[in-house]
């Protein structure tokens, strides 16, 4: 793919992110499995908080090894530079407060090859609608924040990273690490509740349609 995708039909990363959400939610209850950091991006003159899982998530069918983390971008007005990632990633954006579908950030992206920009665009990233960047060697992106948000990220670490880490970090001290884990848990719970409500409503509508068909 030469662009970020929001279609699970086109992305194994997105399919795996969706199917592993309950497992990641359950894992958040195990406090000892997570470590908190403050990551500093000097180029963008900002910092964000990262809650990284100490364990990798292994998909049984494909044996793909996923690293799992939650990032909190609490500061308003964040505008990162265009950057790449070390691994193929899938991202589930979540609102710090408020409901599903809220616009959280605008994401300019470019597909580059041999120093040339082949394609470019801007994706409106909304709460609860995940996207994947399956080709981190070609896809570069930036984040122009609209609202404070959290990102649940899984990274396919089956292969070696394509470059060294570039952002320094310092360990989060307590009680900040626990507060971050609680905020991430609440955001994911809220998102799953909203989705479940939508699912129940659509099932109810399906039932009503089925009854009407039977009455005819």
């Amino acid at each position: 793919m030469n662009s970020p995708t929001q279609s699970p039909a086109d992305s194994r990363l997105l399919r795996d992110l969706n199917s592993f959400l309950p497992a990641i939610r359950a894992k958040l209850d195990a406090s000892s499995s997570w470590s908190g950091d403050r990551v500093i991006d000097r180029a963008a003159d900002h910092a964000y908080e990262r809650l990284a899982c100490r364990d990798s998530l292994i998909a049984s069918d494909t044996r793909v090894r996923y690293l799992v983390a939650l990032h909190r971008f609490a500061a308003p007005g964040l505008r990162t530079a265009m950057h790449d990632h070390r691994y193929p990633i899938a991202v589930l954006p979540m609102a710090c407060t408020g409901g599903d579908d809220a616009l959280l950030y605008r994401m300019p992206w470019e597909c580059r090859a041999d120093g040339q920009v082949l394609q470019a665009g801007v994706l409106d990233v909304r709460a609860g609608i995940p996207y994947a960047i399956g080709a981190p060697d070609r896809i570069f992106h930036a984040v122009h924040s609209v609202a404070p948000h959290l990102s649940l990220v899984i990274a396919d670490a089956s292969s070696a990273p394509r470059r060294e880490a570039r952002l320094p970090s310092t360990a989060l001290q307590e009680p900040a690490a626990t507060a971050l884990r609680q905020a991430a848990t609440e955001a994911l719970d809220r998102l799953l509740r909203v989705r479940a409500r939508g699912l129940r409503n659509s099932m109810r509508e399906d039932g009503v349609h089925a009854c009407r068909r039977l009455e005819r």
Binding site: S7, P8, A9, R15, N18, S19, F20, L21, P22, A23, R25, A26, K27, S33, S35, D37, V39, R50, A52, C53, R54, D55, S56, L57, I58, A59, S60, D61, R65, L67, A69, H71, H85, R86, Y87, I89, V153, A155, A157, P161, A165, R166, L167, P168, S169, L192, R195, A196, L199
Partner: protein, 78 residues
């Protein structure tokens, strides 16, 4: 007379080949669309089942994954 009949038959045969070829291409395209739609529907159903397990308080599917201790701390996501 024979020659005229032969020419008509060959002409009809060519028309038949062109029509059948178009039909095959149309069927191929339709089956591709159906396959894509079926994949998307399957993805939706799998996601909804996983979310319903959370709503119902059921554990995630046991065979789908496992966790392995890793302890990487080199900023894998930057």
């Amino acid at each position: 007379m024979m020659l005229a009949v032969m020419q008509v038959l060959i002409g009809l045969g060519l028309v038949l080949i062109v029509v059948l070829n178009k039909q095959i291409h149309a069927l191929r395209a339709a089956s591709q669309v159906m396959q894509t739609e079926a994949m998307a529907r399957l993805d939706r159903l799998e996601r909804e089942i996983a979310e319903m397990r959370v709503v119902l308080g059921l554990p995630p599917r046991a065979t789908a994954h496992h966790w392995e201790r890793d302890n990487r701390s080199d900023g894998p996501f930057d």
